[in-house]
Symmetry: C2
Subunit: 237 residues, 2 copies
Amino acid sequence: MADLTTPEAQISEDPAEAGIRSETREVLLDAAERLFARVGIERASLRAITREAGANLASVHYHFGSKDALIQAVFARRLGPINRERVELLTRLQEEAGSEAVPLHDILFAFVEPVMRMLRHRDPAEARAAHELARLVVQALNDPEGPAREIVLREFHEVKERFLAALARALPDLPREDLFWRFHFMVGAMAHTASSSYMVAQLSDGLCDACDVDGMTERLVAFVAAGLQGPSVEVRR
Amino acid sequence: MADLTTPEAQISEDPAEAGIRSETREVLLDAAERLFARVGIERASLRAITREAGANLASVHYHFGSKDALIQAVFARRLGPINRERVELLTRLQEEAGSEAVPLHDILFAFVEPVMRMLRHRDPAEARAAHELARLVVQALNDPEGPAREIVLREFHEVKERFLAALARALPDLPREDLFWRFHFMVGAMAHTASSSYMVAQLSDGLCDACDVDGMTERLVAFVAAGLQGPSVEVRR
DNA sequence: GTCTATAGGTGGATAGAC
DNA sequence: GTCTATCCACCTATAGAC
């Protein structure tokens, strides 16, 4: 992160080697991610990770400083691009809309698309890895003592603010209190879908196809849109 | 579980002692639950649990056989009653409805009420414990190698089947494929709400009150009901 | 930057006295 | 049923040679 001098840059001049991109740091991140998905973050020992990476046990401490820092790096590497893209998509929509509010459906789509694109990956192994990453994020979010929770929340912060503002404009008649609650319900539905969509396949005995990411996305957006637009309830206090 | 002989029964004749219910087994379960919530399941060592319980390290192995068995017992003890009550509430609704379909709102309410009742506990410490239990359940569900996942799924199985059937009757025009997907979205919204409702308070800068469990429940049910009843999307394959 | 060796600690489990 | 003492596997982290 603070690696501004990039002392490795002068080494790999070989074009073939540059194509393979097998720098230890990256290989370690890949291996860690794979193992986190397979056995869980806590249970993935540095010994197992470095073995998987074909690297030395001490290399993790050289490149990251600690296991916790490695964990954080794994999450930051994935979540950064996704959340940046969410914000960029929304920005583009707002530019197109000019002084109008962005349509609800478009906002929701911009929110889920960057995640769903990962799940839709052509390579089944990559798609599976994406599902497991989503699962890891939910796991991290529900582990208050875990080292990844903070990263996930920080990476999500700007997304949350921007999309809440956009939703407030798209749903001008919805009381702010309802907006916050419904945003929360929406995040829950989406997180559970991204992390456990395979469950729908077994729940429906194969009728629903979790690999049909586009269909899943459309259904999810439709469900959430209907929920957001529903009537406000009278809440007696 | 297979404790049919109950060899302890002959011991505590004292009425005062019976009221306190301080049998080691139960004390261990309480202590474990408390520690799981505080530091996470994996990070709660048997040493810390038995210290918290005022019991001996070896007592866990005597009463449960292993740490994994203790973990499973903690979850089973809580989830059993909740899920049994969900089913009972639904059964009662169906008896009242006779040959009619149970109204959607009532079905949803029966689904969430037993969970929300825990969160609404008068004692703030108990209410907090309930939130953390919900968080533990979500955590367990997202940890494929964890010993609690299987228990959670097994305890939920009958609930799932019963409520899916009831929803199918309440929403006769909804294609089955949509029903499965929307049920999944619903579970996600509810799980995230039960486990992380405190986030809404900080998200809304205090405007939303996560302690107002009744208001939260009504909003959640309204959101999900609107989502379930929304129009089916045309999905191109 | 990589690797070996090892320090220093904690974990779950169990044998056997009481 | 309870408790002590102990086994042994495994972990992260680091020092220091190359």
